[in-house]
């Protein structure tokens, strides 16, 4: 669950990135965040990850109050979130398997569990054959699927996808969103930032439009393909 109450963010340069924003995304929801660049999308994501702090207001994510969360507790908090980046951010020196297993090693999961869990999520994203490949041997779409598997592997309550289709072929974008939808169907909350309106129109669902640091639109619309 993500909840923002009257949140404003002013950068030290004097730029107002978010202006008195209130927002609530419930468990199990799938929400698109849209808006032109510089509108405040990145600030919103950084806020939810506690990369930056709100100048005023309250940010609650997965029952953690980020305004009062101590630095030491940040790793623990981040383990409840999965993150998919636009540029994949896989570790180039690790194989697909290692990139994913790595997340479980970070949280000190038992070896036995890692050996069972990692092949399972790899099969969920359909990359069984590429398990021992390195990221530079994969296509953009495949790399993003690895990233999604990585976000998924420690069973987070919330997955944040920041322009996950930004660096891959348009035809493959639908596949990626389908994958995220499938994960959402299993109960994980998903927040996907995008500027591809075609994609949003195609899938439909909850759309949050940010413009100049304010939420100008927040409604559920029907997708083109939905009946």
């Amino acid at each position: 669950m993500v909840e923002l109450k009257n949140v404003s963010v002013t950068y030290s340069t004097g730029v107002d990135a978010l202006n008195n924003v209130s927002l609530k995304i419930n468990d199990g929801e799938f929400a698109f965040v849209v808006g032109s660049s510089g509108a405040g999308k990145s600030t919103l994501i950084k806020l939810i990850l506690k990369e930056i702090d709100a100048t005023s207001g309250i940010v609650m994510v997965n029952d953690y109050n980020l305004s009062t969360l101590k630095r030491k507790k940040i790793p623990e908090f981040r383990r409840t979130i999965g993150f998919v980046f636009q540029d994949f951010r896989l570790i180039p020196s690790m194989t697909v398997y290692e990139n994913i297993a790595f997340v479980l090693r970070v949280i000190d999961a038992p070896k036995k569990y890692i050996r069972k869990r990692v092949p399972y999520v790899i099969s969920l994203v359909g990359l069984q054959e590429k398990s021992n490949s390195y990221p530079n041997q994969l296509s953009g779409g495949e790399q993003q699927r690895v990233a999604i598997a990585r976000a998924l592997v420690n069973d987070p309550q919330l997955i944040i996808a920041d322009e996950p289709t930004g660096n891959i072929d348009p035809e493959l974008s639908y596949e990626i969103v389908d994958l995220l939808k499938g994960i959402n169907d299993c109960g994980t909350t998903i927040l996907m930032v995008t500027h591809e309106h075609d994609l949003v129109r195609h899938f439909g669902g909850r759309i949050i439009n940010i413009d100049s640091g304010e939420i100008v639109f927040d409604e559920v619309i029907g997708g083109v393909n939905e009946d």
């Binding site: 990369e51 790793p75 896989l90 970070v106």
Partner: protein
């Protein structure tokens, strides 16, 4: 953190050395040169000191006696000299022995010495070892007041020069060693910074998936330590070879050292364990600290 976690991270550290071998090699070279520079300066200083010490130990005061001094007077003088505070050892060197020794050392003039037999021109003497060489001149003044003293030979001017020289060398050597250590630290920290910077993406990913700072640092720590230890080990070998070569050159080619006494140069066999240990340990500590400190900037994501 569990043992298995630590084992995994240590293994990661080892693997990182290979995976980032270009950067690891750069750090290795910088560490190697730094350890060599500082290590060799220290060894050089230790040896200069030891040589000066060797010369100091040779220092003795020779007291020549009047020609007509009787045996009883000699014994009395000996006990007086032994009672002096700054006198360590008193050795009587009779005129007969002095004559024999001189004859032996100059055997090409044997005829001259044979003609002098029975009319020995050399005086009896005492050879004194001094405890504190800096007080030599005071001791000499005390001895001069005794009866039957013909003359005194003491190299206290030379001693003073040596003591001054030792002070100056200590000062210069410390300055050079400190300067080299600082320069080395700066270069090392920049090299590890570059190595960490090359992997900042990796670090930021670790932060995003909820890695603790310790988890991120341990592989860097291990990596830096391995690189440092390897540099220390190689530096030991290079120093060993170089040291032996220099000692050989000095003893065989440069005669001037024979005057001071090459015995003062420490054989490498005596110090190899100390050198190896201090090289490897300082390499490990500097390597590990260098890389851990350089990660700090990238941990605040």
């Amino acid at each position: 953190m569990k043992i298995s976690g630590i084992r995994y991270l240590t293994k990661q550290g080892f693997e990182n050395v290979w995976k980032n071998r270009m950067m690891a090699f750069a750090s290795f070279c910088v560490l190697l040169v730094s350890i060599l520079l500082v290590g060799i300066s220290i060894l050089f200083y230790i040896n200069i000191n030891s040589m000066i010490g060797g010369v100091e130990n040779k220092n003795e005061v020779i007291v020549y006696l009047d020609d007509n001094t009787t045996n009883a007077q000699i014994l009395e003088m000996q006990s007086l000299l032994e009672q002096m505070d700054n006198v360590d050892k008193v050795e009587f060197y009779s005129k007969d022995k002095a004559f024999e020794d001189m004859k032996k050392s100059m055997n090409e003039y044997e005829e001259l010495f044979t003609s002098l037999e029975g009319d020995n021109p050399l005086p009896d003497s005492f050879r004194l070892k001094i405890k504190d060489i800096t007080l030599t001149s005071e001791t000499v003044t005390l001895i001069e007041e005794l009866d039957h003293v013909y003359s005194i030979r003491a190299a206290y001017d030379f001693v003073n020069i040596l003591t001054e020289m030792k002070k100056i060398i200590t000062l210069i050597a410390s300055a050079i060693i400190i300067a080299l250590a600082i320069v080395s630290m700066v270069i090392i920290s920049n090299t590890t910074k570059a190595s960490v910077f090359a992997r900042r993406n990796e670090i930021s990913i670790m932060k995003y998936v909820g890695a603790t700072n310790a988890f991120i640092r341990i592989p860097f720590f291990v990596e830096g330590m391995i690189t440092g230890m390897a540099a220390g080990a190689v530096a030991t070998i290079i120093t060993w070879i170089g040291y032996d070569a220099v000692v050989k050159l000095l003893t065989e080619e440069v005669n001037i050292l024979n005057i001071i006494g090459t015995g003062s140069i420490l054989p490498f066999g005596d110090i190899i364990i100390k050198v190896a240990l201090s090289y490897i340990i300082s390499g490990a500590v500097i390597g590990a600290l260098g890389s851990v400190l350089s990660t700090r900037k990238h941990l605040n994501v």
